[in-house]
């Protein structure tokens, strides 16, 4: 009987061992592996951003980060055990050293964002003396480690903030999106601007170190290592010198506006492009913001401040997302359309009585010069920005080719996104009969496209909305002989040894069907605008011949918006600049001087701020 007992006991043990080691062995083997193997992430530095001359715009700065093992978190079940007390002491020491409340440390330890076993960040950018104290008193900080981590730094401060954008911790919605497959919940990603546009280039691939650790979490040996792949550096087409001038010019222009009693002027935008290839050399939006605010996460308070209605929305990139009536800057398009369709010609003559009654006495419309320009040639109409001339041309289109202007304008990029490599570009609006019907769906009496709509469109008023970028690119196309390039800010992507691996080539969006002769006619007229017309005052004494157009937009309920768009040198154009000052008053006196400063910087001329006087539109 006793023998049977022995056999039974040993058989039971053997059977149980069979189940554990053979039947379920692989599951236990996996658990043993999970026990001993830890994966340590090796951060991949984010690519840096340089301007076209190699000036650094966004770089990385190493900061020291204090991290804590997740095992330090308070364990309710363990209660008042000695281990729990020791952990409490470590947290207390840490709290005293870093000035972070224990409750906050607990919160961070309990964070679910990190991998369950990964250490949690307790404090970023910790000073060296505190790190030294940590190192000297290591025994009082069991489970605490110091690591180096890279954060964004902006050597030129706020310069080009809208182009660069900012980076921040990946959001939950981004993380679940397909574009961010393989990202970690703690990854830093681009949120706006170039940081967002070129995320896939700037973002590196994290490396990993697989370690074997003891039960206490101490590394015993390295099993394998994957080196991190640093993000690639990029070179922008932006020239930081020009960008700086552009940003200053906007500030100067606002000051001019205030001096001219346009006290509501608070914002504006400027764009400078290379007419020969679509490179954006400067892209400024005012007011601006400091991208450094977003390093390590922006505070709730600051965020509220820069998104408040009274803030004039500094985060908005007005150069590509601001929508404005193009006003008289649009006359070049109307004029070209007229020339192209034969509805006007270089030698056509007009008469401006002040109040134009071409559609009948009851539909009379004023030219901005109420006394009238009297006898006007086509070129004079452009030069003096005479509304009556363009009313005539517009009305001719209404009668003969009802949507000819729109069709032509669309070929020059209006009404749709140009596809600049920055997020947030808007399409604007090129109104037509179909749009008007849909827009006024609930107001049947407003659905019909009227002659006045085309006449208003002809002078860049009415329902037309454009971005400063569209205006700049359309004039660039006029300047370069009829090629609409796709604007871009990325020039090169660099490999780790600094050589370009990608160089962005010019892309042609469209080559509008317009004759060289018509273009020449328009270019001559635009040159005349600056020489003797509405742009004269702002460009007096400027050594390089400039062609351009002023504009003063009427916006319901607001003061006039000031425009200037021009290119230079007028005879062999290289750069085109567009400036808009919201509620800044007259384009010739407020926007044109700003454009002059920017063109001066681009052409190597003396950069000076001139006070201009012009009351045209």
């Amino acid at each position: 009987m006793f023998g049977a007992l022995i056999a039974a006991v040993l058989a039971i043990l053997a059977a149980r061992l069979w189940v554990m080691q053979v039947a379920e062995g692989s599951a236990y083997a996996l658990q043993a592996k999970q026990n001993r193997v830890r994966e340590v992430t090796l951060e991949a530095p984010r690519g840096q951003i340089f301007d076209r001359n190699g000036e650094p715009l966004v770089v990385n700065r190493a900061v020291l980060v204090v991290m804590a093992e997740p095992g330090l978190a308070y364990n309710e079940k363990a209660g008042e055990s000695a281990e729990e007390q020791a952990k409490g002491q470590v947290k207390q020491n840490l709290s005293t050293l870093l000035g972070v409340p224990v409750s906050e440390i607990e919160e961070k330890l309990a964070s679910k964002k990190e991998n369950a076993l990964a250490p949690r960040v307790i404090a970023t950018d910790v000073s060296l003396d505190k790190i030294a104290y940590l190192a000297e008193h290591a025994s009082e900080f069991e489970g605490i480690e110091v690591r180096s981590r890279a954060v964004r730094q902006y050597p030129q401060g706020r310069l080009a903030a809208h182009v660069l954008g900012y980076a921040g911790e990946i959001s939950d919605s981004q993380l679940s999106g397909a574009d961010y497959a393989g990202y970690d919940p703690t990854d830093i990603v681009g949120k706006t601007g170039a940081e967002l546009s070129f995320e896939n280039v700037l973002h590196g691939d994290r490396g990993a170190r697989i370690l074997e650790v003891t039960a206490g979490g101490r590394p015993r040996r390295m099993i394998s290592e994957t080196q991190p792949n640093a993000g690639k550096d990029i070179v922008l087409t932006i020239d930081s010198e020009i960008q700086k001038v552009a940003e200053e010019a906007l500030v100067d222009a606002l000051a001019d506006a205030h001096r001219n009693n346009s006290v509501k002027a608070k914002s504006g935008a400027a764009v400078a492009v290379d007419v020969t290839n679509g490179e954006v050399v400067a892209l400024a939006s005012c007011p601006t913001f400091d991208p450094a605010l977003f390093v390590g996460g922006i505070s709730q308070e600051t965020w509220a401040e820069i998104t408040d209605k009274s803030s004039e929305y500094p985060l908005s990139n007005r150069a590509i997302a601001g929508l404005y009536p193009p006003a008289s800057t649009f006359k070049a398009i109307t004029g070209l359309a007229g020339l192209d369709s034969g509805l006007t010609s270089a030698v056509s003559s007009y008469y401006c009585p002040g109040r134009w009654i071409g559609m009948g006495e009851q539909w009379g419309k004023w030219c901005w010069l109420h006394s009238g320009h009297k006898s006007m040639s086509f070129r004079g109409g452009v030069e003096e920005s005479c509304d009556a001339v363009f009313y005539e041309i517009g009305y001719a289109f209404y009668k003969n080719d009802r949507e000819g202007i729109q069709r032509f304008a669309r070929e020059f990029g209006y009404g749709s996104r140009l596809g600049i490599d920055l997020p947030g570009e808007r399409a604007g609006r090129m109104p037509d009969a179909k749009w008007k019907k849909e827009f006024n769906e609930d107001y049947p009496e407003y659905q019909r496209w009227l002659p006045g709509d085309t006449v208003n469109l002809a002078i860049g008023q009415g329902d037309t909305l454009v971005t400063p970028l569209q205006v700049a690119m359309s004039y660039a196309a006029i300047a370069n002989g009829g090629t609409l390039y796709k604007p871009h800010v990325l020039k090169e992507v660099l490999s780790s040894d600094g050589n370009p691996v990608v160089t962005v080539e010019p892309t042609v969006i469209a080559e509008p069907d317009v004759s060289d002769e018509d273009l020449r006619t328009m270019r001559t007229a635009l040159k005349q605008v600056v020489r003797t017309g509405t742009g004269k005052s702002a460009f007096r004494g400027f050594n390089v011949s400039v062609a351009g157009k002023t504009g003063t937009a009427e916006v319901a309920g607001k003061d006039d918006f000031a425009w200037f768009v021009g290119y230079a040198p007028a005879d062999s154009p290289k750069y085109c600049v567009a400036v808009v000052i919201e509620q800044g008053g007259s384009g010739g006196s407020v926007a044109a001087p700003a454009a002059r400063q920017i063109l001066a910087a681009l052409l190597g001329e003396k950069i000076e701020h001139v006070n201009a006087t012009d009351n045209s539109r």
């Binding site: 022995i6 554990m20 083997a29 026990n35 074997e212």
Partner: protein
């Protein structure tokens, strides 16, 4: 062909072959060698590993001396000394308490189970006490000539068995207490205890354990404090056994890690010294109580079955010695030793694979620990003493 009688065969063989039980010696040698190999692997990653291995081998050497002495000693001389031996076992068990009372030594982990002077640990007196109790019970039970029927006889035997059990609980060392119960029950069965009495005793045992738990829970409610009747760590181990998720940080964690170690050994193991659970400190007490976890991890199912096979050989051989004994006293001694081993094997391996609650019981011939090794070697000596004197 002439048939050789048993007597004739023995007469024809030299004394040395009649005195030596080859299967027993062989299984013990293999077990201690096997144990030493596994212990050497278990301590290999410890800073004091080499000296610990030496101490283990020293324990085996010392055990051989004790084995020789016990072998040479005629066990029959002990039969008349039940009373004094009883006193000796009691003294052994309470001796750490006495030294503690005299301020010579202190409790270790809240228990007086080590005989120590200052910080120097000598040995665990409950180990030799097991053998003394076996001899005492054998002497007591042998008087009934193989029939334990009357209630008074049962009570008397239980009385003898109860003394060391109660005393060991004062150390306290519940695990060793269970060993005493197992020894007593096993010996009474071999000694002719009627099945009905076995059932009565089993019932009494269940009631006793239930009573202890009831007392603990009442004490907890009255005083709001644990440790009154059942030590807290003991209570935790039992709680964890019945509900492994109750506490994964401490008691349950150990069992969980042990199961992972053994299971991850799979069929053929990770190889000596290549066990990650043991060498990376996931296993507690890996050279003593959890030595089987190291074996299971590093040598796999094959290694575990080899060990169980060796134990089977040892126990079967021991049972055959018991059967060959010339007197009931000798047979009972062997049966007591056998029960002791069987219970310890079941308890130790069982706890490492999570089928019985955790108690601090080592694995015979395998675990590191000199007093335990010496005790088991002495037991082998006693078995040989019975075998040698079988005629």
């Amino acid at each position: 062909m002439r048939r050789i009688t048993h007597g004739e065969m023995m007469e024809e063989r030299p004394l040395i072959f009649r005195a030596v039980n080859a299967p027993l010696i062989a299984s013990v040698v293999l077990l201690t060698v096997y144990g030493s190999v596994v212990v050497s692997s278990a301590v290999s990653s410890m800073s004091s590993g080499p000296s610990m291995l030496k101490r283990h081998l020293f324990g085996i050497g010392l055990g051989l001396v004790f084995m020789a002495v016990a072998w040479a000693f005629d066990y029959r001389k002990l039969e008349g000394w039940a009373g004094p031996l009883m006193a000796l076992s009691a003294l052994l068990i309470v001796s750490p308490r006495i030294l503690g009372f005299l301020k010579v030594s202190k409790a270790i982990s809240g228990s007086y189970s080590w005989l120590s002077i200052g910080k120097v640990r000598l040995f665990q007196p409950s180990e030799p006490a097991k053998l003394v109790v076996i001899v005492v019970l054998a002497a007591v039970i042998a008087r009934y000539g193989g029939k334990i029927e009357r209630p008074a006889d049962v009570a008397r035997i239980c009385g003898f068995a109860a003394v060391p059990f109660v005393l060991i609980l004062t150390q306290p060392d519940l695990g060793t207490g269970f060993v005493f119960i197992a020894i007593a029950v096993g010996m009474m069965l071999i000694g002719g205890l009627q099945p009905k009495w076995f059932l009565v005793l089993a019932l009494a045992g269940v009631l006793l354990v239930g009573g202890l738990f009831a007392a603990e829970s009442i004490a907890f409610r009255v005083t709001g404090d644990h440790n009154k009747v059942i030590p807290k760590h003991q209570m935790d181990r039992l709680t964890v056994f019945f509900d492994p998720s109750a506490d994964s940080a401490n008691a349950g964690f150990h069992v969980q890690q042990s199961k992972i170690a053994i299971g991850s050994g799979e069929l053929s193991g990770k190889g000596l010294r290549a066990g990650t659970q043991g060498n990376l400190y996931f296993l507690p007490e890996r050279h003593t109580d959890f030595i089987f976890s190291v074996l299971g991890e590093e040598l796999g199912f094959v290694g575990a079955i080899v060990l169980l096979g060796l134990y089977l050989a040892l126990l079967v051989t021991a049972m055959s010695i018991s059967a060959s004994s010339r007197d009931l006293f000798g047979a009972l001694i062997v049966a007591g030793v056998c029960t002791m081993w069987l219970f310890q094997i079941l308890e130790n391996i069982g706890m490492t694979i999570g089928v019985v609650p955790v108690t601090g019981i080592p694995l015979p011939f395998m675990s590191y620990g000199a007093s335990f090794m010496v005790t088991n070697m002495t037991a082998i000596g006693m078995l040989l003493s019975v075998w040698t004197r079988r005629y």
